[in-house]
Assembly symmetry: C2
Homo-oligomer: 315 residues x 2
């Protein structure tokens, strides 16, 4: 039991990251039912689709769940109104200024966490009045910070500048890693990649199978001139890598990226034309498991490792 | 007490990384005297200079110490003969194939560790018969792997493929981080950056002060077309960044780098013309401390954090 569990009223300090095209009501409710905190990923949902997912999630669990909202979302006003109307109690905001929406949400009784990739932004979160901070390292999948600070360096840096409840994200998929980030100063973990590759994730089967077979070095943070994104090896990643090695401009990269590529890759399973995003930690996992199996492994792994370390230190 | 302590006959599972221009006999003997394992960095020493440092180190400590040898070293045969002649008992090899020198060293009674940045190379280490493996993540200073795998992802990946004693390197400068990497499967840590910034380090005062004042995002892994190197912000880093953003070729980068830049930066303190290398974790430290102070902080930090986590889990 720690502050993260108290804040979100959950059993284990494990939050499932809200991800585009992966985290609908099935995934979020499964994580919440297993004692963690499930998050719907609003980033890939039209407002009325999000409403449907919120309602289905409520029907599927009586435990707390939340919504992740990237603040660059084009219809952000509509989304925030809808979240208030539907009585969502927990919102994780990301990719933007925490000052923009924190007051609006807090006035409506919502618990707010914001995702940062530097301690500078963690300070801004505290000023904005958020309830918790997620510090996301370079190894994370999807969109990412420009400074490339890894979780091992970022978590203590953020812990130094804030006393708020802190979740670590990026590179965490096991109980051992949860224990590691607690040692570094986080109270809990936001886990994306491992949950994106479960049975309950709405990602396409092709994408899941690809990611369950990748090795170290098979993802790379690219598109830094646009919005830094950790891509999985494949045709699209090769095209981006080649373009960037030759010094492609912002306009050239925008043209190469085009529109709707993430949906094509993650949701429709087009491994040739689609944009594929996953965290480095994917290389540790080989099996498509259920959320319940994953949660059990994480909790068991955490307890075993803590016991091992205690035993070694007694010798 | 664990396998790393037993293997190297040291009190704490803390190895001071062998670094160019930073780790001579003063630093190595201070770390060994404080209960860790000090390493001389042969990479920046002519053979006869290394001989002098080995002899001075022997005179300064009766505890075990070792030598780090980058296998790309131009006079590698001379260096290895000299190491054997001087009766060095511990050698850490890096930047090359572990098969090249492990047998030679083992036949002379030397304990051998090899530094890797991927689990693929960890397997090669085991085949080559090394005694221990150092897994070095993307956040580390100096020369680095091409795959950009961070310590949080690399350590469990290496732990999966080998049962050898394992040290983690990259991003570790505190006792909390030592506990974190133990949770991930390492038995100890190789710490470079924090020791490079101690009083006993032979790096230039200008360089130490610069690094004790940097923030997150002030280092970057560049020169990937040559040998990936984590550079500190400054004139030389800007020049490299600009060249690479415009798609500079290998030849262009070689010309830009020239010769002797690391000595100029690290040892002579020329912050304008020199090549400056440090790990991401530098941003956590602000004070020039002695090795003894650093070791005490690490050990105290480790014990406090372990107690905190035990207490929280009892609640």
């Amino acid at each position: 039991m720690n502050r993260i569990c108290e804040l979100f009223k959950i059993t284990y300090p494990i939050v499932q990251g809200g991800m585009v095209w992966c985290s609908g009501w099935r995934l979020a409710s499964a994580v919440s039912n297993a004692g963690g905190l499930g998050l719907l990923g609003a980033g890939s949902m039209h407002p009325e689709v999000l409403r449907e997912h919120i309602r289905k999630c409520k029907a599927a669990t009586d435990k707390p769940f939340g919504v992740n909202v990237p603040l660059m979302y084009p219809e952000i006003e509509t989304i925030m109104q809808l979240i208030a109307e539907e009585g969502v109690k927990i919102v994780f905001t990301s990719a933007g200024n925490p000052k923009a929406w924190t007051r609006f949400l807090k006035e409506r009784g919502v618990t707010v966490a914001h995702v940062v990739s530097s301690s500078k932004f963690a300070v801004k979160c505290e000023e904005a009045g958020v309830d918790a901070i997620v510090a996301e390292g370079f190894e994370a999948g999807g969109h990412n910070g420009r400074e490339e600070t890894t979780s091992l360096c970022l978590i203590p840096a953020v812990r130094k500048v804030t006393s708020l409840p802190l979740l670590a994200a990026g590179g965490i998929g096991t109980g051992e890693a949860l224990l590691a980030v607690q040692a570094l100063g986080a109270e809990g973990a936001q886990i994306g990649t491992r949950f994106a590759l479960t049975k309950e994730s709405s990602a396409h089967e092709n994408f899941k199978q690809l990611c369950l077979n990748i090795n170290e070095g098979d993802t790379k943070l690219l598109l830094k001139k646009l919005s830094p994104t950790r891509l999985v090896k494949g045709d699209f990643m090769s095209a981006v890598e080649t373009a960037e090695a030759c010094g492609a401009t912002v306009e050239e990269l925008q043209k190469l990226l085009g529109k709707g590529r993430a949906k094509k890759g993650l949701f429709e399973g087009d491994l040739k034309e689609g944009e594929l995003e996953i965290g480095q930690v994917a290389s540790l996992f080989r099996q498509l498991q259920s959320v319940e199996e994953v949660m059990l492994e994480i909790i068991t792994g955490y307890n075993h490792k803590l016991n091992d370390i205690q035993d070694i230190n007694k010798k």
